[in-house]
Structure formats: C-alpha cells, structure tokens
Symmetry: C3
Subunit: 373 residues, 3 copies
Amino acid sequence: MATFSEADRLLPTLERSFYVDPAIFALEQERIFARRWNLVGRAAELTAPGDYLTAEIAGESVIVMRSAEGRLTAMLNICRHRGARLLLDERGSCGRSIRCPYHAWSYGHDGELLGAPNLREWIGDSREQLGLQRVAVEERYGYVWLNLDADGPSFADDVEAQLAARLGDAGRIDAWELARLRPGHSINYEINANWKLIVENFMECYHCSTIHPELTAVIPEFRGGVASQAAGSGYGSEIGEQIEGFTFDGRAGLEPLRLVPKEDRRRYFGITIVPGAFINLLGDHAVVHRVIPRSANHTTLECEWLFAPETLESGADIAPTVELFDRVNRQDFDACERCQHGAESNVYTHENVLVPLEHHLLAFYDEIRAAVG
Amino acid sequence: MATFSEADRLLPTLERSFYVDPAIFALEQERIFARRWNLVGRAAELTAPGDYLTAEIAGESVIVMRSAEGRLTAMLNICRHRGARLLLDERGSCGRSIRCPYHAWSYGHDGELLGAPNLREWIGDSREQLGLQRVAVEERYGYVWLNLDADGPSFADDVEAQLAARLGDAGRIDAWELARLRPGHSINYEINANWKLIVENFMECYHCSTIHPELTAVIPEFRGGVASQAAGSGYGSEIGEQIEGFTFDGRAGLEPLRLVPKEDRRRYFGITIVPGAFINLLGDHAVVHRVIPRSANHTTLECEWLFAPETLESGADIAPTVELFDRVNRQDFDACERCQHGAESNVYTHENVLVPLEHHLLAFYDEIRAAVG
Amino acid sequence: MATFSEADRLLPTLERSFYVDPAIFALEQERIFARRWNLVGRAAELTAPGDYLTAEIAGESVIVMRSAEGRLTAMLNICRHRGARLLLDERGSCGRSIRCPYHAWSYGHDGELLGAPNLREWIGDSREQLGLQRVAVEERYGYVWLNLDADGPSFADDVEAQLAARLGDAGRIDAWELARLRPGHSINYEINANWKLIVENFMECYHCSTIHPELTAVIPEFRGGVASQAAGSGYGSEIGEQIEGFTFDGRAGLEPLRLVPKEDRRRYFGITIVPGAFINLLGDHAVVHRVIPRSANHTTLECEWLFAPETLESGADIAPTVELFDRVNRQDFDACERCQHGAESNVYTHENVLVPLEHHLLAFYDEIRAAVG
C-alpha cells in the first residue's frame, strides 16, 4: 500500500487467516466469547420461579433460571455426577428442582445439590461442593447476559462502556424500556461467513448505497456512506423528510414508544456490543441481533423485533416494519458470504483494504488481535 | 474430591478427552479394536461353501468365508493387485472363488490367488505370496469373532476369560446353545455418543430406577442399583415373583430354551465382552449387542434377538419380548447422548465421579488407559 | 516384491498415503493444480465482449472474460477492496464492466479498476495497481486453459508437449476442429475416490475386458488389455470390423467430422493431459473429461460430448453415442471407488502392484512424487 500516493487512505484489514483458520476460531471462542459478556436471550419472559432458558455460548450449554427470590441464576447444563446434559429444551419450567434424567441427582434453583439416590446419609455436607458449576449472569435491558469467565471484565466495564461510547450516556437506552417491550417477530439466519465479517458489515455503511435501496430511501444520509456509529458519540441518523416511518417502503410505522424523547423519534441508532450483540433503536421499535459463531466459516444470527405490548395488542400491522430490517439482513449476509469466498483464497496475494469511511473498523481489529495474540 | 468427608466414595471417571479427542479415538481403534477379539456377525447362517459375510472392524472391511472343508476363513476385503474392495454385499455366496470386479484377479476360499488375466505363465509359483491378507477368525457361540492382530491375545485369554469371570465358568453359556438359536429381530441404533459411554452404561444399574420403568418392574432388584455383573461372579438377577416373563409389561414370554437349567430360567445374565460385545441371557431367549465405534462422538449399536428355531416356527409372538430390550436400549442411548454433551465442555472444571454402585467401572477405565498409554 | 521370480513384472504403485492423506492432497492442489495448465470450460461459446465464465481450480474461483478486443482475459474472482466474490454465475455477460455487488468498485474487461464510490479524486493513478489479480489464460481447441502460477510452465511445454507425445504431432488434433464443435450432452459425476485413481484408470486398459463389455465389443483389441495411449505415440485403437459405429451397441454413429482423415475415422484416440483433462477423439465426435479434485477421497468429473454443429442441427440421434461413454464412465468410477476403500486400510501390509500392461503408469507416479516432494 505504501506505493500509493493515497497511502494513508487505504489501510489493511485483518489478515485472511483470521477468517478461515480453525485454530484462530478456537482461540476466539476461548478468549473472546468465553471471557466477555454475551447477550443470550430474553429475560423478561422468565417470570415464575423455576422458569428457565438454555443458552449456548462458545459451544457451552448454560441454564438460566428464575430463582424463588426472583433473581436470575446461571449454571453449566452439566450434571456433577456423570456429566449428563440436564435440560434439553430451549425454554421451560423445572418446578422446584432440576432432576438429572440419568441417575436422578437433583439440584435447586441456585444449582445446589438437593439429593442423590442411595447417597442420602452423607449428601448433607456436600450440597455446595457438589452443586452445578455457576456462571456469571446479569439481567439488563430485558435480556440475559452471561460471562463464562468469573475473572472476566465487569458488565460495567464491558457492555455499559460500549453503550456509553456509542450513545454518549449508557442510560440513554433506558428510554426504550427494552424490558417492557415484547418480541413481535424473530428470524434465525444461517450464514456461511466468519462472524467478524458480520460485525464489520454492521459497523460500516460504505456499502449502504450499493446493496440497501430500501434503507437508503428511508435514511437518505446513508447514501453518503457514513454509518451512524461512525458519525460521533450519541449520533442518530435521521429518517428522510418525506419518509413517514422506518418501514420497507417508507410508509407510516407504529405508535412512538412512550418514553423516547421527541427528538429521537425519527432517528436510527445502530449499536455494536462486541463481541456478539447489535442493538438497533428506532422511535417505534427496536431490533436486537445476536451473533453466534459456529465455525470459522459459519455463523448463526438470531434477530428479534421488539414492540410495545400495547402496540402488539392493538393488532397494528408490524409486517412493513419487520420487512425493512429483514431485507437489510439478507442483503448484508449475502455480501458477507461473498467476502468469505475471497478470504478462503490461497493464491490471492493482495491485502484487503479499508477506505476512509471504514477506518473505524480498525479498533475492532485491534481488539481481536489483542485477544487472540 | 479429597476435600469430601466421603472422599472414598466418589471416585473420578476417565478424563473428558477420552470421550472427545479424535487422536485418542484413533489410538483406541488401533490398540483396542484392532488388537482384540470382535464379535462381528452370525456364523451359524453361513452353511454352504462360498457363503460369506463382510464385516467392518476398526474401519477395516473383512471377508468371512465358509470354505469347502467347512471351516471359517477370514481375509481383508482388498485385492492384492490394485487394492479394490472385492465384495460389497453384507452377505452372499461367491461360489468357488472371489473374482475382483476390476481386473478379474480371482482368489479361493482360503484367499490364495487362483488366476490373473495375462499372467498365466508365472502365476503358479506365487499363489500363496499373492493371496489375500489373512485375518484371525474363531466361530464360537454361533458368532464370528475376528482379531486383526496376528500377535494379539488368544480367544481363550480374551473372550473366554471374560465369560468365565462373569459366569463363574465359561462353559455355562453352552446351555443357551446360541449357535442353534436364530435371529428373530434386529435393530441398528445410531448414537451420538462415544462408544465407552455405551459400555459404561451397560455395566452399571445405578440409573435403572430412573430411566428403566419397564425393566425394573420385571426385575425389581434392579431398583437397588446393583447391576447383575457387579453382584459377583456367576450371579443372575431374578425376575420378580409376580412377573410372568421378560417382556415389556411382564406378561408371559416364550417356551424355555431346552438346555437352560431350571434354576436359571427366571434369571437375567448381562455379560460385557470388552471391547464391543454385550450378551444377555434369559430363560427363553438371548439378546446380543455389538458396539461399532464410528468416531469419537458417534457409535452404531447392532442389536439382535435370538430365539429357539422351534419357537420361531411355532408362530409364537416375540414382539412383547423384543419390545422390552428395545425400550431399554432407547432409554440408555438417550442418556449416553446427554453425557456426550457434558464431555464436550471446555469450561467445566469438575471431574465426573462414580458412586460406590459404579466403582466396578474402574477396571474398564484401567483397561482403556493401559491400552491407549 | 523382490522375492518373486517375476520380480521385474510386478512393480509397486504409489504408497497408500497419496490417496488418503489430506496434507498430500493440499500439496497436490498447491504444486500441481495451481502450477500447471487446467482445462476449465468451453471458450468457443464466449463470443461477445463481456461474456464470461467462472471456473474453479485448486479451490480458487477465476473469471474468464471475452474482452472488447476479442481476447480472453482471466482474473481472480475477488474484489481488491474487501475481498468479495464478484460473480456468482457459471456463465453470463457483465456488459462493459464488472461491478462489485458489495461496495460498487468496478473493473474493466482486463481487470483494471474503473471506479470506486467516494474515491473519485485519486483513483486515476491507481487503476492498474488496484486491478483484479490476473491469471494466465490460453484459448485452445475451443477450451479455456488456465494456469494460476505466472512462473509455471508454458502452454507449449505442458499441454502441447503432452499432445505431441500422444499423437506424434500436436497439430494432428486440429483435424477435429474442437472449437467448431458444440456440446450435445454433458454429465457431472461425483466420485468417492482420489483423483489419481481416476487418471490411472483412464490410462490403462488391463481392466477393459473385465468391466467394459460394450467398449470391448466396439473395439475388440481392448480385450488384450493394451490401452491406446500405451500402444505407442500416434496409435489409435481400431473399431472392430463388424462394428458400424462408436455407440453402446455398435450401431452406426453419426456423419464423420469433415476434416478427420479417412484412416482415422474408425479409430479411437484417448489422450491424458496431466493433471486433469482427458480428450477422446472419434471419427464422428469427441468426448472431453475434466477431473476436479475436491478432497483426498472425493472428485468431480465433468464430461462433455462434442458434435459437429450440422450434426446437431440435423436432428441426428446422438443418444446411442453418448450412452457408450456414459456406461464406460460409470463402470470406471465404480472401480475407482472400490480402490479408494483399499487405500484407506490401516492394517493392509502389502503394496499394490502394476502388471506389465500397466507399467506406463509409473511415469505418472513419478510426476506426482516429483511435484509433492
């Protein structure tokens, strides 16, 4: 790149091995996804004691449980006796205890051992020692957030810091009352691309004018290629003047969310929470993405559209709203799959490059490089 | 575990890597399945010269042939010329010779080269040198047993010794006349679990009261968790007093086998022949399992129900008998798959443990560790 | 083998690892398929400027383009910006430029960068430097031939030398006017065998009398096992006297090709162009095979039957002609799959051997060994 007169404008991306090497993928799982905070699913729907969900992070199955005291607890989904997976369903209720279906060892809502057949006389002393392995959990913004590493960063230093950097003030997100909202639609996308391509794609908007005709019609400033999250802390991209709502064809959307300030009702805030959550805030709804890496070249993306309960109950038509981000998703993931092909080349001798509108991706690359080492 | 006051009662299982590491799996195939005696299929049905079956052990395809002299011979299913697989069918008859379907080299029942096109003038001297590679074979209890390693243990030191340890006297099995019995039903199960989890599960009964309601109704002593093979050499578990037969609902079974001693007609003998055969003896039938490891996390289990020929010919209803062990199998393999999930965890820091009722599994672990090194 | 009195007649093949080891497969892709000339598809159908095909060699996707000047150009199918695959279709027309569907960088027919959004002011100086990565291409005999290695052998030293060795004179192929012919039928075969087994099979005819009843009926001299390409430079195998044409049942074929000399009209020339093309010349048609290695144990074979355009337009029945080589193909690939099984054995201690009728395969083995090192 040094031979260009514009050398300072085209900067190299991560090396190709980061997108294809199974060994690097394994390190990322171990040092990024297993050490940082992962949004794994809705907490707001776990209401009664014993309600649980099972979540997968970095290949590990975790039980998240509403305890009798109303707290969330989280534990590896592995019996302490012979290692059987305890719960197979994605959601459910275990009642007062989790009973292993293999030899009937049973555990309480905090994971403590309650009983084991034929071992009654001595189990008392070992309740705690033989409990399920605990996992750090936070219930925030209506979601469950997990960290597999007890020595990992605090939620404040990780998630809240990223929110604050993006919104200017982490508390600003409270106006959306995400815990009060309810999922109106969800779609899982299977993508033949490395997870980082999906994060990079979400962070930049240089591609918007090429692949997102509906989105750039609704937010005309995206035609210039400046992503909302690159435009400065706290910046929200404006919906176009002639546009009625954040819908696939610009028609009117839904009733505004009750606490969103008037000046933010026609703005879009895209927020990346590294490593695997994207939160999208609009005046009348929110969209939450979860990135689940499966292998170096395959990723699942779960996408959930959230609406005010009164909107859902009113029978208002959410379809035109859902369709906009669904189209955007499909356009994006098609592009990511194309980039995966390029990354898999063995004879391509050039480095990929970032144009100035993409230079803010370098901070993400630095995080990856620092973690993988 | 040393921190428990009951430290002597919870003993560690094999380390998790034994259930998930492809390198350990390859070593097991090479040093256990390719060096010990494997039950591979019914011999009793190979009656005429040229009748054959093809069997797979440790990924190798072997031809087992009834020779003109009535002996069984066994050979690798690989042509000595260009290495083509000679026979594709599971069973059949090759007539007087095996003819390679690629270049028509032909071999006799003992694997000797009989002819090769365009090479007539010199083939005579090389018949033996260019014969198929021989494999050690024994015909016992109606089954073919193979050992890929010519320097492996003798059949007596391996299979007979295990039978003797279990039954008190290896000859005791003769009363079941397994060679005279005939398969009345067979089922292949595909299981997403390491083969050793299936062996361990078969060896212990601590899980019986949790997952086997039909079996524990028929054999009430299993509710206590003591496996028949842990209860002492020669021990057979008793069918319950109110129970008529070894059927899924306890109804009457079939006519007793003619030579089984009266005192054994209402007993169940479960026998593990490491590495891959389970033999189950009942008063009126037998059930034979064959464990075929496919990969560290996948195993095929072939299960065959054997009955007296006069019973099959009488039109007696074998279905209630078959259904009992089929239910037991499905209950067991579901549990094994749950344990495979636990074994695949990277962040679970505890060891799995054996309770006293499972301590006899330690001998199996020792065999595995000694072989893999 | 030294112990045979006929030691000089049975010579060892390649070692088994060459057929099963993924590391050797990767080296072959890098050092053979990525360094030599590969026939990848019909060029004759790319007529207008902007007509393209995409081809895969050694896992790399290459764009082959008809330029405004009528030349063929070839370039990696990878955008210089973020590495997106540019074209997904197997064939098509891009018009005046290739436009990346991700961020709209656009490239001309020679791969030069034509434009990039938001970078207008400086792109001028960098058109060449930011062009697509070029690939060496030749248009010969109606086909596109590619070489990923700019420092690889010349087309003359590689393909033409092989043609000359086979036909006596490379120019002799011109009588078939392959560029004028048109595909009348094509079939893709998926084969669970290493690519070299397919090449070896094509090179020898010792198997012909065993597996090719239709072919040996049409060309009776093949019963002796001498392949046309082993019978001496320039040799063509004769169609039998009572046989009317090169069809599955010997019935009459099609009108002779206009320039094929009378003495060659009833001959078959099989030509192997290492590493991955087979050309079969008959008096009234040609058959072209392309070998595409996918993994150590899987290969795709594309087969195309070529006829004179006037024959296709006349409505003549090509089916009996197509059926002969389709049957031969299926017979061959079944045999190759059988050999793959033998190669995968871990306990087979013998080497595979070549009989004298197969000794000409040694030159192929030498090429492989020299390349893989």
